[in-house]
Amino acid sequence: MEILQDLHPDVDFETEEHLVDDKILDSFDIVSLIAEINDNFDIAITAKDILPENFNSAQALYELIRRLEEEA
């Protein structure tokens, strides 16, 4: 959550549910986000996981991370 807030201080990530669809997050944001997450959580989000439904909300992102942690 902190990482998200860093990227866009003006967006309320608690409630926003269409981060990608509404073009709040662009491809650059997504890439830096992934770099940070991979680093912090020691998982590997790969290109195939970059789908709008995984990045549309903080909740979805959290679930993606949990799933990848389980798989690892």
């Binding site: 073009k23 662009d26 491809s27 650059f28 997504i30 890439v31 830096s32 992934i34 770099a35 991979n38 680093d39 590997a44 989000i45 790969t46 290109a47 195939k48 970059i50 789908l51």
Partner: protein, 531 residues
Amino acid sequence: MLFTSYAFLGFVAVLFLLYYIVPRRWQWGLLLGASYLFYALAGTEYLAYILVTTVTVYYTALRIERNADRQTGYLKEHKNELTKEEKKAYKDRQKSIRLRWILAGLLLNLGILAVVKYTNFAIANLNGLLHAFGKGESRQLSFLDLALPLGISFYTFQALGYLIDVYRGTVRAQRNFFRFALFVSFFPQLVQGPISRFGDLSQTLYAEHAFDKKTFSFGLQRILWGYFKKLVIADRMLVGVNALIGDPEAYQGAWVLVGMFFYACELYADFTGGIDITIGIAQTLGITLQENFERPFFSRSLKEYWRRWHITMGTWFRDYIFYPISVCKFMQKFNKACRRYLGEAVGKRLPVYLSSFVVWFATGIWHGASWNFIVWGLGNWAVLMVSETLEPLYDRFHQRFGAGGKAYRLFEVVRTFLLVSALRTFDCYRSVPVTFRMFGTLFTARNWNILWDGSLLGLGLSLLDYGILAVGVLMLVSVSLLQRHGSVRERIFAKPYPLRFVLWYGLFLTVLLMGAYGVGYDASQFIYNQF
């Protein structure tokens, strides 16, 4: 078969008729036949290329999916017998098999594309190098006579997108070979896109479509609008564009600006018009294609423009090149290293800049095998990176001066338009040195008077043509403005029939009478001479 030929119109008309007459389960088969006929009419020698791509991608995708399915099955079956390490080792092993398959598929098809599209470009550059190192004329390589198969860039990308999707597991592979062949060859989009995703297109491509009057007429309306853009605006403007770029020495200074503006309008009308025809044809067949444009000239920044212009190409590069490069293991390591040694602010950016460099290089060279396209692509990259880097600065500036009003937004739109058009001149003059020199003359030629002293009439366009162009461009802008509030066709549909009839028939007559097509009628050539 050009979109603007009678033969194409006849082809499509016959197809429409058959499509709604044959039993519905034959519809997709009919489309496959029509697509291959369309392709064969462009040149039967090209059929081999598209067939090779179709067969190899079809087969590779099946192999990859079979492997993935076997893996899932095996893991489920032996869930309790295997240790975590064994599972992981098995998975890695399977993954590397799949990786080998996809690499084979990608390399083969990109290889074909590279050979037919870039061999001569490579030879030219090699010759240049040989020459530079004093090897003289004796060692020059001769060019290969390779015909570029129709739409190869588009269908290759579309097929490879599918292959990657199957590899990633986001779509299921198409088991029916002929259905897959239709996906690769679907004729309206073969010439200039849009580049469809299997997940999207397969939803309507194979379905049975009953004739629906509204969908059908909406499709026809879109086709008509496309022809309006192409024939009335683009092809008329092309006369001026050709005159200007045909003789750069004669048209310098202010002419460069005129050319920039003409080319921007011409390309927009031509490309979006073509896509309108493509999507319109698909719609009359009940098939939904992805939109390729979203009023790109209303963009307020170059970045936004690239999200709204040639959308399916942009997202293709993003999903299949930019993301994979950006998040691959090497990049992640590189990212970490950069942040450690160069500090957070710079280190975070560098890797992204690097991968977008690759993307823009690829975008450039995809547009055409020559340096001017590469410079154009990298020019876009440079502007994007600069504005990305300066974004905090902009933000502060905007906050301090309260920019954000309508006037400022308009300024941004105009600025973006100029920037895009300026970058496009690389594509226009087809030569990097010429483009730079021409830009130089903007400051030295001092011939601004050509804009009002009637010189504009010397480009092969009459005053009447300018009038038509002005009204045409105005119509494009107005329709775009209206589109912001929803479908224009829907709005017209809600009007009483006589009004609708007058509007659409009026547009038809406009295309018929003002379209720049056919053998131009030139009364002067009827003047009696000698015979």
